[in-house]
Every structure is written in structure tokens, then in C-alpha cells.
């Protein structure tokens, strides 16, 4: 598999795709710093932490990965170069895993594109992280595991579908659709247990505390919480909403998704007819 990885990295270095994606992330980071440093931002917060500059990375990474993976793997089908590997006897398992690893390493590189600029520009403007090192490392670990799960899912779609346009459409639509779904589920979970409602029996309509009919409890709540903890976009929605009490379990779910989707991808790719 080393041969395949070397050939993949040679192709990456020669292609503009990685550099464009890296540059886009760097640009986003710069724009984020500028945006957060404007007087407008300070209307809503007395101070801005460096953590807030890094938060958007959780949303940007799945979008960038959807774009990158669909184009990178799609090019192999588009140009027909996947045939060159199969003809000379490269195993389908190794081809699949090499593509996954290449995309994962590229994902880390793309992440660095944002992190370097965000750190370089962010520290002088907003100071260092206000959270402790343990929390920062946990967020970093969650991000890397989440990135691996997105890469695994997008690699599965890209390796089983020879049309890169279709793959890009499916991956991008899936990211946004599942994100919207997750935000909806999160909003259901964030309903308070009790709400203040007017007492219509009293002419003065005093506000009294009553159980919230929209509050999710029992099994539905457990299921809902599990779904948004398990789904990568559910994890994104929780982190962006700073509802991250379950941060500790997210990497486990991400790794389960990574292994399961890679195993499924390898299984179906071995049976696929290449045209």
C-alpha cells in the first residue's frame, strides 16, 4: 500500500485541488479574525476569545472535505486512472484504503490551513485560549475524529459512484440536510422542562410555572440525544451551539462511523464493476 500512497501524494502535490482548499481555509480564517475584530462584534460581547475564532472550523471542515474528496477520488474515475492500478494487480482493498488515508491526511492539512492563520492572526488580536489545555486537546481530538468520520463517509460515496458531479451533490446536500436536521433535534432537546405561561383563570394573567408540553423526556429524549451525538453533523451542531456536555463520547461514535463505513466501502468496492 506504500506504493499507492506515494503515487497518491505525488498526484496531490501536482494538483491544484489541495492548495485551493488549503488557501480557502486560510482565507476563511483571516475573514473570521477580521469579522470578529470589527466594532460590530463587540456590541454583542465584551470580549472575544480565541476559541470563537476556531469554532467555525467544525462546520467548514465537512464542507471542504465533501468538495475535496469528491473531486480527488472522482478524478481517478474521470481520467480512468483507477484502471491503471487494477490492471497491474493492485488489490481493491489497498486502493480503497490508500484513497481514504490520502483524503484523511489531506483533511488534516486543510485543517492546518485554517489553524495556522487563525492562530497567527488570532493570538495578537484576541489573546490566547481562555480554556484550559485539557479542554483544548479534547476539542482537537473530537475535531480530528469527526474529520475522519466525514472522510470515511465521503470516501464510501465517492469510491462507489463514478460520477464526481453526482458525488459532490450527494455529499454537500447530505452535510447541509443532516445539519439542519441535527439543529432541529437540538432545538427540541434544548426546550426547557418548565415554562412560564399566563394563568388565564386570573384576570391579571399572572405568569405561572408549568411543565413545557414541548419538552422531550424519557425514551424519545434518549433516542434524540443518541442520534445527535452519533451523527457527525449532530456533533457539529452541538459544538457550534456550545451544547457540548457529551463531548467525551463523540470521538468514540466518530471512530465507529469511520470503521463501519470503511468496512462497508471496501466490501462493496470489491464487488463493483469498473466501467
Amino acid at each position: 500500500m506504500t506504493n499507492l500512497l506515494l503515487s497518491n501524494f505525488l498526484r496531490l502535490l501536482k494538483s491544484k485541488l489541495l492548495w485551493v482548499t488549503f488557501s480557502l481555509m486560510a482565507l476563511f480564517a483571516a475573514l473570521m479574525c477580521i469579522w470578529q475584530y470589527t466594532p460590530y462584534s463587540f456590541l454583542y460581547a465584551s470580549s472575544i476569545d480565541l476559541e470563537e475564532i476556531f469554532l467555525p472550523i467544525f462546520l467548514l471542515i465537512p464542507v471542504m472535505l465533501a468538495y475535496f474528496v469528491s473531486l480527488y477520488i472522482g478524478a481517478d474515475y474521470d481520467y480512468g486512472t483507477i484502471k491503471n492500478k487494477l490492471i497491474v494487480g493492485c488489490s481493491r482493498v489497498k486502493i480503497y484504503l490508500a484513497n481514504f488515508i490520502t483524503c484523511a491526511v489531506s483533511g488534516i492539512f486543510i485543517l492546518l490551513g485554517y489553524a495556522i492563520v487563525a492562530f497567527t492572526a488570532g493570538v495578537p488580536l484576541f489573546g490566547f485560549f481562555s480554556s484550559d489545555a485539557k479542554t483544548i486537546m479534547l476539542y482537537l481530538f473530537v475535531e480530528i475524529c469527526m474529520m475522519l468520520s466525514f472522510t470515511a463517509l465521503f470516501t464510501l460515496i465517492a469510491m462507489l459512484n463514478q460520477n464526481k458531479g453526482t458525488v459532490m451533490a450527494i455529499t454537500l446536500i447530505s452535510v447541509f440536510a443532516t445539519l439542519i436536521f441535527s439543529l432541529y433535534m437540538l432545538s427540541m432537546l434544548e426546550e426547557p422542562k418548565y415554562v412560564y405561561m399566563p394563568d388565564y383563570s386570573d384576570e391579571f394573567l399572572p405568569l405561572i410555572e408549568r411543565p413545557n408540553p414541548d419538552y422531550l423526556s424519557g425514551v424519545p429524549r434518549i433516542i434524540c440525544q443518541f442520534v445527535i451525538d452519533f451523527m457527525p453533523t449532530g456533533q457539529v451542531s452541538q459544538i457550534l451551539s456550545e451544547a457540548d456536555e457529551h463531548l467525551w463520547i463523540m470521538p468514540f461514535y466518530s471512530l465507529i462511523i469511520t470503521f463501519a463505513s470503511t468496512a462497508a466501502g471496501v466490501f462493496f468496492f470489491k464487488k463493483k464493476d469498473i466501467k
Partner: protein, 304 residues
Amino acid sequence: MEYALTADNLCKRYGRFNALNNLSMRVEKGAIYGLVGKNGSGKTTLIRLICGLQRPTLGQYSIYGEKNTSSKISYVRHRMGAVIESPSIFLNMTARDNLKHQYYVLGRPSFDGIDELLQLVGLEKESNKKAQHFSLGMRQRLGIALALAGDPDFLLLDEPINGIDPQGIVQIRELLIKLNKERQMTILISSHILGELSKMATHYGFIEKGSIIKEVSADDLERSCRKCMRISVSDIPTLIRVLDLNSAEYRIVSENTADIYGKYNIAEIVLMLSKENCDIISLSERDETLESYYINLVGGAKND
């Protein structure tokens, strides 16, 4: 007799459509095997199966004695190279980088031999030019270079001269003959351009509706291809009548032309036509070409 490729009752089904239908064939080591068939006959499907891009629905094949179901087939594939349909090259990379990429895929320890390969296919001056700026012929030659990157013993080419200019066709033909003679490379080449194929193939396999209907060596083909007299006349029904009276074997080629096979007394036929006031427009001796042999063969297969 050693074979580079054997196929036994290969079948490939796409839904309800049988692309390959109990196909059996043998490709001798060191041969240039011409696979001849019309569009949709199964040539590309067969090559895809042999190259491992797809799996057969039924049947099996062996490459250098190793069955397709064997775990060692991948080692045997290291001895293969192929260009299937269009050349598989990265258009955003130069010719040299494309070859480097393939060298990495093959696990070659160094890039030695790239310059020789580029020279072999006539791309040494364009080695640092991006493939997107190449003509079709140049891309085809780069595709062949990629197929040769692993020093294969068995080369499969699916219609490699489609869309190539006459000079390019000659260059590719000379290259393939050179590879066969100097490196004893076995070459399987599918092509519509029968005239070109006849200039290099040592063996032929005729494929129709997913089956090999005939396999023949070039020598046997030459022996069985018959000489004939092509005659063009002003009145074809009269010619037919005269030929039938003489029990001559013939084939009507067009509304005023026929080919007459076997031994015949041409003077007698000419006199009989003259008596019937049938003018002879032209008369020439012909050899049966690969094209006419194939058309007769397929026509025979269709009529079975």
C-alpha cells in the same frame, strides 16, 4: 503449447443482457492476437474482465496458467499492461509525471527507464508538457507508455488506433511489431481497422454476440482466403444465369459486380455473356481480404 491467456465459457451479464456468452479462447505466448468484432460484440467487455476491472458472471480465465479466482492472480497481473478504451492519464500532469505516478503504483525502486520509454513511444520532446495539451495520438502513445511501464509480458490494447492520424497508426504498428519481435511480448489487440490488423497480427479471434466464432492463425487464414475473379457487367441477371449454367461458385457484390471463385474457364464465360449481349465493364483478380473473410464469417454465423 504455452498460452498467455485461456478463457473457458466466460459469461458476463448486465441485467438481462449477455455481453459475453460462453466465450472460449486461447492466446499463445508470443503472439499478436487480433480480436475482430463489430460494435457491441463483446470485445471491450472481454478485455475488462481479463484486466480485472469486472468479474465474470460465469466461467473462468487463466493468465499464464493462473486462474482468475486464484489468490496469486495479482502477481501475474504485474506482468500485464493494458490500454482500455481511452488512455488513462492525468491531464493536469506532464508525460514524465504520469510515468512517475505509474512507477510508484508498480513499486519500482527508481525512475530509471522513463526516458527510454518516452523515446520508445516518440514523446521524448514532449516529456515536460502537460497531457492536456497533447493531441489524441500523443495521448494514446502516452497510454501505451504507461502500459509498458511495468515491462509487461502481456499487453492488451482495446482499439488503440481509433482516431489516430495515418502517421500515428504506422508508428504504433511499428512499435507493437518491435515489442513483439524484440521482447517476445504477447499482444492482444482489438480493432475495427482490419487492414491495419492484418499487417501485424499472427492470430485472429473473431467475436460475435459475445462468443468467439472462429480462431485462426494468420498462416491458416492466408491459406483459406481464396482468390477470386471480380467481374463488373452491364446486366447482372444475365451473368447470374451464365454462372449457374457453368456451376460456378460466385458471390454478388453489388448491382453490377460479382466475385467468381474457384477454377473457371473465363473465355467461355466471356463468350456466353457476349452472346447474351451483356457487356463486361471490368475484370480483375482479387485475393480475399481479412475484411471479406470476416464479413463472410459473420454472415455465416448470422445465418446459422
